[in-house]
Protein backbone atom coordinates (compact mmCIF):
# COMPACT_ATOMS: atom_id res chain seq x y z
CA UNK A 1 0.00 0.00 0.00
CA UNK A 2 2.85 2.39 0.71
CA UNK A 3 4.38 1.40 -2.59
CA UNK A 4 1.24 2.57 -4.41
CA UNK A 5 1.44 6.03 -2.82
CA UNK A 6 5.14 6.16 -3.65
CA UNK A 7 4.62 5.20 -7.29
CA UNK A 8 1.78 7.69 -7.82
CA UNK A 9 3.70 10.59 -6.27
CA UNK A 10 6.84 9.80 -8.24
CA UNK A 11 4.86 9.65 -11.49
CA UNK A 12 3.34 13.05 -10.69
CA UNK A 13 6.87 14.37 -10.19
CA UNK A 14 7.98 12.99 -13.56
CA UNK A 15 5.03 14.59 -15.34
CA UNK A 16 5.66 17.92 -13.63
CA UNK A 17 9.33 17.89 -14.62
CA UNK A 18 8.59 17.07 -18.24
CA UNK A 19 6.24 20.06 -18.42
CA UNK A 20 8.82 22.31 -16.72
CA UNK A 21 11.35 21.38 -19.39
CA UNK A 22 9.12 22.32 -22.30
CA UNK A 23 7.00 25.20 -21.08
CA UNK A 24 8.12 28.65 -22.17
CA UNK A 25 5.98 30.85 -19.96
CA UNK A 26 8.23 31.38 -17.00
CA UNK A 27 5.41 32.21 -14.57
CA UNK A 28 3.93 28.76 -15.17
CA UNK A 29 7.37 27.18 -14.80
CA UNK A 30 7.79 28.80 -11.39
CA UNK A 31 4.37 27.62 -10.25
CA UNK A 32 5.21 24.12 -11.45
CA UNK A 33 8.45 24.29 -9.49
CA UNK A 34 6.36 25.05 -6.40
CA UNK A 35 4.19 22.01 -7.12
CA UNK A 36 7.35 19.93 -7.61
CA UNK A 37 8.66 21.02 -4.21
CA UNK A 38 5.37 20.25 -2.48
CA UNK A 39 5.11 16.77 -3.98
CA UNK A 40 8.73 16.16 -2.95
CA UNK A 41 7.79 17.24 0.57
CA UNK A 42 4.96 14.67 0.55
CA UNK A 43 7.42 12.04 -0.64
CA UNK A 44 9.76 12.95 2.18
CA UNK A 45 6.93 12.34 4.64
CA UNK A 46 6.22 8.89 3.20
CA UNK A 47 9.92 8.18 3.69
CA UNK A 48 9.72 9.21 7.38
CA UNK A 49 11.80 12.37 6.97
CA UNK A 50 9.48 14.83 8.71
CA UNK A 51 12.03 17.58 9.47
CA UNK A 52 13.21 17.55 5.87
CA UNK A 53 9.63 17.68 4.58
CA UNK A 54 8.89 20.67 6.81
CA UNK A 55 11.99 22.51 5.60
CA UNK A 56 11.36 21.69 1.95
CA UNK A 57 7.77 22.90 2.18
CA UNK A 58 8.72 26.11 3.97
CA UNK A 59 11.97 26.96 2.23
CA UNK A 60 11.78 25.26 -1.13
CA UNK A 61 8.15 26.00 -1.88
CA UNK A 62 7.65 29.25 -0.04
CA UNK A 63 10.82 31.27 -0.20
CA UNK A 64 12.10 29.99 -3.55
CA UNK A 65 8.80 30.76 -5.25
CA UNK A 66 8.64 34.25 -3.78
CA UNK A 67 12.23 35.09 -4.74
CA UNK A 68 11.79 33.68 -8.25
CA UNK A 69 8.55 35.62 -8.76
CA UNK A 70 10.11 38.85 -7.49
CA UNK A 71 12.99 38.43 -9.90
CA UNK A 72 10.58 37.53 -12.70
CA UNK A 73 8.66 40.75 -12.17
CA UNK A 74 11.89 42.64 -12.84
CA UNK A 75 12.80 40.76 -16.02
CA UNK A 76 11.01 39.24 -18.98
CA UNK A 77 8.37 36.60 -18.52
CA UNK A 78 8.64 34.54 -21.68
CA UNK A 79 11.48 32.36 -22.76
CA UNK A 80 12.74 32.45 -26.29
CA UNK A 81 12.45 29.32 -28.41
CA UNK A 82 15.73 27.38 -28.08
CA UNK A 83 17.85 28.00 -31.13
CA UNK A 84 20.05 24.89 -31.14
CA UNK A 85 19.16 21.30 -31.88
CA UNK A 86 19.20 19.36 -28.62
CA UNK A 87 20.79 16.15 -29.92
CA UNK A 88 24.22 16.56 -28.34
CA UNK A 89 22.65 17.62 -25.06
CA UNK A 90 20.29 14.65 -25.13
CA UNK A 91 23.22 12.33 -25.71
CA UNK A 92 25.20 13.83 -22.84
CA UNK A 93 22.20 13.58 -20.55
CA UNK A 94 21.47 10.00 -21.61
CA UNK A 95 25.07 8.89 -21.08
CA UNK A 96 25.23 10.56 -17.66
CA UNK A 97 21.92 9.01 -16.69
CA UNK A 98 23.04 5.57 -17.83
CA UNK A 99 26.26 5.82 -15.84
CA UNK A 100 24.32 6.89 -12.75
CA UNK A 101 21.84 4.03 -13.14
CA UNK A 102 24.77 1.65 -13.46
CA UNK A 103 26.09 3.16 -10.24
CA UNK A 104 22.85 2.52 -8.39
CA UNK A 105 23.06 -1.21 -9.05
CA UNK A 106 25.35 -1.44 -6.06
CA UNK A 107 23.17 0.61 -3.77
CA UNK A 108 21.29 -1.22 -1.00
CA UNK A 109 17.66 -2.07 -1.72
CA UNK A 110 15.13 0.59 -0.84
CA UNK A 111 14.15 0.23 2.81
CA UNK A 112 16.59 -2.52 3.72
CA UNK A 113 17.23 -2.32 7.47
CA UNK A 114 20.48 -4.29 7.31
CA UNK A 115 22.39 -2.20 4.80
CA UNK A 116 25.79 -0.88 5.71
CA UNK A 117 24.78 2.76 6.02
CA UNK A 118 22.55 2.02 9.00
CA UNK A 119 25.18 0.27 11.03
CA UNK A 120 27.79 2.72 12.21
CA UNK A 121 27.09 6.40 12.80
CA UNK A 122 23.32 6.15 12.84
CA UNK A 123 23.31 3.50 15.57
CA UNK A 124 25.53 5.66 17.78
CA UNK A 125 23.39 8.73 17.23
CA UNK A 126 20.06 7.02 17.79
CA UNK A 127 21.08 4.91 20.75
CA UNK A 128 23.26 7.39 22.61
CA UNK A 129 21.42 10.63 21.87
CA UNK A 130 18.91 10.47 24.79
CA UNK A 131 21.72 10.01 27.32
CA UNK A 132 24.41 12.21 25.79
CA UNK A 133 22.44 15.09 24.32
CA UNK A 134 18.85 14.91 25.47
CA UNK A 135 16.25 16.18 22.96
CA UNK A 136 13.74 13.57 21.80
CA UNK A 137 14.15 14.72 18.20
CA UNK A 138 17.28 12.90 17.10
CA UNK A 139 17.62 15.07 13.99
CA UNK A 140 17.82 18.21 16.14
CA UNK A 141 20.40 16.65 18.42
CA UNK A 142 22.52 15.57 15.46
CA UNK A 143 22.11 18.93 13.70
CA UNK A 144 22.80 21.11 16.71
CA UNK A 145 25.17 19.07 18.81
CA UNK A 146 26.89 16.20 17.06
CA UNK A 147 27.24 18.12 13.75
CA UNK A 148 27.00 21.61 15.19
CA UNK A 149 30.03 22.82 13.28
CA UNK A 150 28.38 22.03 9.95
CA UNK A 151 25.34 24.03 11.00
CA UNK A 152 27.59 26.97 11.85
CA UNK A 153 28.95 26.77 8.32
CA UNK A 154 25.45 26.65 6.91
CA UNK A 155 24.39 29.72 8.84
CA UNK A 156 27.47 31.51 7.55
CA UNK A 157 26.50 30.54 4.00
CA UNK A 158 23.06 32.11 4.44
CA UNK A 159 24.65 35.21 5.91
CA UNK A 160 27.05 35.46 2.98
CA UNK A 161 24.21 35.10 0.51
CA UNK A 162 22.42 37.96 2.24
CA UNK A 163 25.55 40.11 2.03
CA UNK A 164 25.87 39.23 -1.68
CA UNK A 165 22.30 40.29 -2.32
CA UNK A 166 22.71 43.58 -0.52
CA UNK A 167 25.97 44.22 -2.36
CA UNK A 168 24.40 43.45 -5.74
CA UNK A 169 21.02 45.10 -5.32
CA UNK A 170 21.02 47.26 -2.22
CA UNK A 171 17.78 48.58 -0.88
CA UNK A 172 17.96 52.35 -0.95
CA UNK A 173 15.84 53.83 -3.64
CA UNK A 174 15.26 57.10 -1.92
CA UNK A 175 18.57 58.80 -2.46
CA UNK A 176 19.76 60.21 -5.72
CA UNK A 177 22.87 58.55 -6.91
CA UNK A 178 25.56 60.18 -8.95
CA UNK A 179 26.92 58.38 -11.97
CA UNK A 180 30.01 59.10 -13.97
CA UNK A 181 28.86 58.77 -17.56
CA UNK A 182 31.66 57.75 -19.96
CA UNK A 183 34.37 59.95 -18.48
CA UNK A 184 32.29 63.14 -18.71
CA UNK A 185 31.36 65.24 -15.73
CA UNK A 186 29.41 63.63 -12.94
CA UNK A 187 25.71 63.94 -13.54
CA UNK A 188 23.02 62.93 -11.17
CA UNK A 189 20.40 60.47 -12.29
CA UNK A 190 16.97 61.56 -11.15
CA UNK A 191 15.68 59.38 -8.42
CA UNK A 192 12.92 56.92 -9.08
CA UNK A 193 9.71 58.15 -7.42
CA UNK A 194 8.90 56.41 -4.22
CA UNK A 195 6.17 54.28 -5.67
CA UNK A 196 5.36 54.67 -9.29
CA UNK A 197 2.19 52.61 -9.11
CA UNK A 198 -0.99 54.71 -8.96
CA UNK A 199 -2.22 55.07 -5.42
CA UNK A 200 -5.17 52.78 -4.78
CA UNK A 201 -7.50 53.86 -1.99
CA UNK A 202 -7.12 51.66 1.05
CA UNK A 203 -10.76 50.62 1.09
CA UNK A 204 -10.14 48.62 -2.06
CA UNK A 205 -7.98 46.18 -0.16
CA UNK A 206 -10.24 45.92 2.86
CA UNK A 207 -10.61 42.14 2.95
CA UNK A 208 -6.89 41.57 2.50
CA UNK A 209 -5.97 44.13 5.14
CA UNK A 210 -8.31 42.72 7.76
CA UNK A 211 -7.41 39.09 7.15
CA UNK A 212 -3.75 40.06 7.08
CA UNK A 213 -3.98 41.85 10.40
CA UNK A 214 -5.75 38.83 11.84
CA UNK A 215 -3.23 36.33 10.61
CA UNK A 216 0.17 37.97 10.78
CA UNK A 217 0.41 37.76 14.60
CA UNK A 218 -0.76 34.14 14.46
CA UNK A 219 1.89 33.31 11.87
CA UNK A 220 4.54 34.85 14.09
CA UNK A 221 3.23 32.89 17.06
CA UNK A 222 3.42 29.71 15.03
CA UNK A 223 6.99 30.57 14.07
CA UNK A 224 7.91 30.92 17.74
CA UNK A 225 6.21 27.60 18.47
CA UNK A 226 8.19 25.89 15.72
CA UNK A 227 11.41 27.46 16.98
CA UNK A 228 11.14 26.28 20.54
CA UNK A 229 9.42 23.00 19.80
CA UNK A 230 12.20 21.77 17.55
CA UNK A 231 13.48 19.57 20.35
CA UNK A 232 10.27 17.59 20.64
CA UNK A 233 8.94 17.39 17.11
CA UNK A 234 9.81 18.53 13.63
CA UNK A 235 10.97 22.10 13.67
CA UNK A 236 13.97 24.13 14.66
CA UNK A 237 15.72 27.34 13.75
CA UNK A 238 15.59 27.25 9.95
CA UNK A 239 11.91 26.57 9.58
CA UNK A 240 11.03 29.07 12.29
CA UNK A 241 13.13 31.83 10.72
CA UNK A 242 11.53 31.23 7.36
CA UNK A 243 7.97 31.24 8.75
CA UNK A 244 8.65 34.43 10.69
CA UNK A 245 10.06 36.02 7.55
CA UNK A 246 6.97 34.98 5.59
CA UNK A 247 4.80 36.92 8.06
CA UNK A 248 6.78 40.07 7.24
CA UNK A 249 6.59 39.30 3.53
CA UNK A 250 2.82 38.93 3.79
CA UNK A 251 2.70 42.32 5.46
CA UNK A 252 4.86 43.81 2.73
CA UNK A 253 2.65 42.37 0.02
CA UNK A 254 -0.63 43.59 1.48
CA UNK A 255 0.60 47.02 2.48
CA UNK A 256 3.55 48.52 0.61
CA UNK A 257 7.12 47.33 0.69
CA UNK A 258 8.03 50.85 1.85
CA UNK A 259 5.60 50.57 4.75
CA UNK A 260 7.11 47.23 5.70
CA UNK A 261 10.57 48.78 5.48
CA UNK A 262 9.49 51.39 8.01
CA UNK A 263 8.23 48.67 10.34
CA UNK A 264 11.20 46.30 10.04
CA UNK A 265 14.00 48.61 9.02
CA UNK A 266 17.01 47.42 7.02
CA UNK A 267 19.31 48.61 9.79
CA UNK A 268 17.51 46.43 12.31
CA UNK A 269 17.74 43.50 9.93
CA UNK A 270 21.45 43.96 9.46
CA UNK A 271 21.85 44.07 13.22
CA UNK A 272 19.75 40.95 13.73
CA UNK A 273 21.58 38.95 11.08
CA UNK A 274 24.94 39.71 12.62
CA UNK A 275 23.58 39.11 16.12
CA UNK A 276 22.31 35.65 15.26
CA UNK A 277 25.58 34.54 13.77
CA UNK A 278 27.55 36.07 16.64
CA UNK A 279 25.31 34.23 19.09
CA UNK A 280 26.13 30.94 17.45
CA UNK A 281 29.85 31.57 17.26
CA UNK A 282 29.79 33.17 20.69
CA UNK A 283 28.36 30.04 22.26
CA UNK A 284 31.20 28.08 20.72
CA UNK A 285 33.85 30.48 22.00
CA UNK A 286 32.18 30.53 25.41
CA UNK A 287 32.49 26.77 25.56
CA UNK A 288 36.19 27.14 24.82
CA UNK A 289 36.58 29.79 27.52
CA UNK A 290 34.87 27.55 30.05
CA UNK A 291 37.34 24.79 29.39
CA UNK A 292 35.80 22.54 26.77
CA UNK A 293 36.28 22.32 23.02
CA UNK A 294 34.68 24.64 20.49
CA UNK A 295 30.89 24.02 20.53
CA UNK A 296 31.22 21.42 23.29
CA UNK A 297 28.09 22.25 25.26
CA UNK A 298 28.82 19.91 28.17
CA UNK A 299 30.67 22.68 30.01
CA UNK A 300 27.94 25.29 29.78
CA UNK A 301 26.05 24.25 32.89
CA UNK A 302 26.54 22.17 36.02
CA UNK A 303 25.42 18.93 34.38
CA UNK A 304 26.28 17.84 30.82
CA UNK A 305 22.65 17.26 29.80
CA UNK A 306 21.63 20.71 31.02
CA UNK A 307 24.57 22.19 29.20
CA UNK A 308 23.55 20.45 26.01
CA UNK A 309 19.98 21.68 26.38
CA UNK A 310 21.13 25.26 26.93
CA UNK A 311 23.60 25.09 24.06
CA UNK A 312 21.06 23.72 21.61
CA UNK A 313 18.52 26.33 22.69
CA UNK A 314 20.95 29.20 22.15
CA UNK A 315 22.28 28.12 18.80
CA UNK A 316 18.82 27.35 17.39
CA UNK A 317 17.84 30.85 18.48
CA UNK A 318 20.88 32.26 16.68
CA UNK A 319 20.07 30.30 13.55
CA UNK A 320 16.44 31.41 13.63
CA UNK A 321 17.31 35.07 14.03
CA UNK A 322 19.87 35.04 11.22
CA UNK A 323 17.61 33.14 8.81
CA UNK A 324 14.73 35.54 9.52
CA UNK A 325 16.84 38.62 8.97
CA UNK A 326 18.48 37.36 5.79
CA UNK A 327 15.25 36.14 4.22
CA UNK A 328 13.55 39.49 4.79
CA UNK A 329 16.67 41.28 3.52
CA UNK A 330 16.57 39.22 0.33
CA UNK A 331 12.90 40.02 -0.12
CA UNK A 332 13.48 43.74 0.40
CA UNK A 333 16.43 43.75 -1.98
CA UNK A 334 14.49 42.05 -4.77
CA UNK A 335 11.13 43.60 -4.09
CA UNK A 336 12.30 47.16 -3.85
CA UNK A 337 13.98 47.30 -7.21
CA UNK A 338 11.79 48.96 -9.76
CA UNK A 339 13.09 48.25 -13.20
CA UNK A 340 15.71 50.97 -13.43
CA UNK A 341 18.54 50.55 -15.86
CA UNK A 342 22.01 51.90 -15.14
Amino acid sequence: MEAAVDIVLLSLLCVTVIVIVYIRKLFCAIMLLGIFSLISASLFITMDAVDVAFTEAAVGTGISSILLLSALSLTHTRERRPAHQPYVALMVVAVTGAVLVYGTMDLPAFGDPDSAIHRHMAVRFIVDSPQEVGPPNVVTSVLASYRGYDTLGETTVIFTAGIALVALLGFNRRKEFKVRLSGAQITSVPEVPLSSAPKVPNADYLVLRIVGKMFIPLIMLFALYVQFHGDYGPGGGFQAGVIFASAIMLYAMIFNVETAMRVVTPTALRLLAVLGLLLYGGVGVLCMLLGGNFLDYNVLAHAPLHGQHLGIFLIELGVGITVFAIMVTMFYALGNRSGRSV
Binding site: D204, V207, L208, V211, M214, F215
Partner: protein, 106 residues
Protein backbone atom coordinates in the same frame (compact mmCIF):
# COMPACT_ATOMS: atom_id res chain seq x y z
CA UNK B 1 -11.71 -8.43 9.37
CA UNK B 2 -13.30 -6.31 12.05
CA UNK B 3 -13.94 -2.75 11.04
CA UNK B 4 -15.58 -0.57 13.62
CA UNK B 5 -17.86 2.33 12.89
CA UNK B 6 -15.02 4.87 13.01
CA UNK B 7 -13.11 3.12 10.25
CA UNK B 8 -16.17 2.89 8.01
CA UNK B 9 -16.98 6.55 8.54
CA UNK B 10 -13.33 7.49 7.88
CA UNK B 11 -13.35 5.57 4.62
CA UNK B 12 -16.64 7.18 3.58
CA UNK B 13 -15.48 10.71 4.31
CA UNK B 14 -12.15 10.17 2.60
CA UNK B 15 -13.84 8.79 -0.52
CA UNK B 16 -16.30 11.67 -0.80
CA UNK B 17 -13.50 14.16 -0.09
CA UNK B 18 -11.31 12.68 -2.81
CA UNK B 19 -14.23 12.72 -5.24
CA UNK B 20 -14.79 16.41 -4.52
CA UNK B 21 -11.08 17.08 -4.99
CA UNK B 22 -11.09 15.33 -8.34
CA UNK B 23 -14.20 17.23 -9.39
CA UNK B 24 -12.46 20.47 -8.44
CA UNK B 25 -9.53 19.49 -10.63
CA UNK B 26 -11.77 18.53 -13.54
CA UNK B 27 -13.62 21.82 -13.19
CA UNK B 28 -10.32 23.72 -13.19
CA UNK B 29 -9.48 22.12 -16.48
CA UNK B 30 -12.80 22.12 -18.28
CA UNK B 31 -14.63 25.27 -17.24
CA UNK B 32 -14.31 28.05 -19.82
CA UNK B 33 -14.00 31.17 -17.74
CA UNK B 34 -11.66 32.43 -15.01
CA UNK B 35 -14.45 33.18 -12.55
CA UNK B 36 -16.19 29.84 -13.01
CA UNK B 37 -12.86 28.12 -12.37
CA UNK B 38 -12.73 29.96 -9.04
CA UNK B 39 -15.97 28.21 -8.14
CA UNK B 40 -14.40 24.85 -8.90
CA UNK B 41 -11.37 25.47 -6.72
CA UNK B 42 -13.62 26.83 -3.99
CA UNK B 43 -15.13 23.38 -3.69
CA UNK B 44 -11.67 21.92 -3.29
CA UNK B 45 -10.61 24.38 -0.63
CA UNK B 46 -13.70 24.14 1.56
CA UNK B 47 -15.63 20.88 1.22
CA UNK B 48 -12.82 18.56 0.16
CA UNK B 49 -10.39 19.75 2.81
CA UNK B 50 -13.07 19.64 5.49
CA UNK B 51 -14.05 16.05 4.69
CA UNK B 52 -10.48 14.79 4.51
CA UNK B 53 -9.43 16.57 7.70
CA UNK B 54 -12.55 15.36 9.49
CA UNK B 55 -11.76 11.80 8.46
CA UNK B 56 -8.28 12.23 9.95
CA UNK B 57 -9.77 13.70 13.14
CA UNK B 58 -12.00 10.62 13.44
CA UNK B 59 -8.94 8.43 13.22
CA UNK B 60 -6.95 10.29 15.85
CA UNK B 61 -9.62 10.61 18.52
CA UNK B 62 -9.55 13.18 21.35
CA UNK B 63 -5.86 14.00 21.27
CA UNK B 64 -3.77 17.09 20.60
CA UNK B 65 -3.48 15.98 16.97
CA UNK B 66 -7.22 16.58 16.46
CA UNK B 67 -6.93 20.10 17.86
CA UNK B 68 -4.09 20.82 15.46
CA UNK B 69 -6.15 19.46 12.57
CA UNK B 70 -9.02 21.77 13.57
CA UNK B 71 -6.62 24.71 13.51
CA UNK B 72 -5.41 23.66 10.08
CA UNK B 73 -8.98 23.59 8.83
CA UNK B 74 -9.80 27.07 10.14
CA UNK B 75 -6.60 28.43 8.67
CA UNK B 76 -7.34 26.82 5.29
CA UNK B 77 -10.90 28.11 5.19
CA UNK B 78 -9.97 31.70 5.91
CA UNK B 79 -6.81 31.94 3.81
CA UNK B 80 -8.09 30.10 0.77
CA UNK B 81 -11.23 32.24 0.57
CA UNK B 82 -9.11 35.36 0.95
CA UNK B 83 -6.82 34.14 -1.80
CA UNK B 84 -9.79 33.50 -4.08
CA UNK B 85 -11.05 36.99 -3.32
CA UNK B 86 -7.64 38.51 -4.08
CA UNK B 87 -7.41 36.62 -7.37
CA UNK B 88 -10.90 37.63 -8.48
CA UNK B 89 -10.27 41.24 -7.50
CA UNK B 90 -7.05 41.50 -9.43
CA UNK B 91 -8.71 39.84 -12.43
CA UNK B 92 -11.45 42.47 -12.35
CA UNK B 93 -8.84 45.22 -12.04
CA UNK B 94 -7.11 43.88 -15.11
CA UNK B 95 -10.33 43.91 -17.07
CA UNK B 96 -11.23 40.24 -17.33
CA UNK B 97 -15.02 40.11 -17.33
CA UNK B 98 -17.18 37.04 -16.83
CA UNK B 99 -18.43 35.46 -20.01
CA UNK B 100 -22.09 35.65 -19.11
CA UNK B 101 -21.93 39.27 -17.98
CA UNK B 102 -24.27 41.07 -15.65
CA UNK B 103 -27.93 40.18 -15.75
CA UNK B 104 -29.03 43.78 -15.43
CA UNK B 105 -26.92 44.72 -18.46
CA UNK B 106 -25.33 47.68 -16.72
Amino acid sequence: MDFDLLDILTALFLTVGCFLGISGGVGLYRLPDFFSRQHATGVTDSACSFLILFALILQSGFTLVSVKLCFIFFFLVITSTTATHALAKSALHKGITPILGREDKR
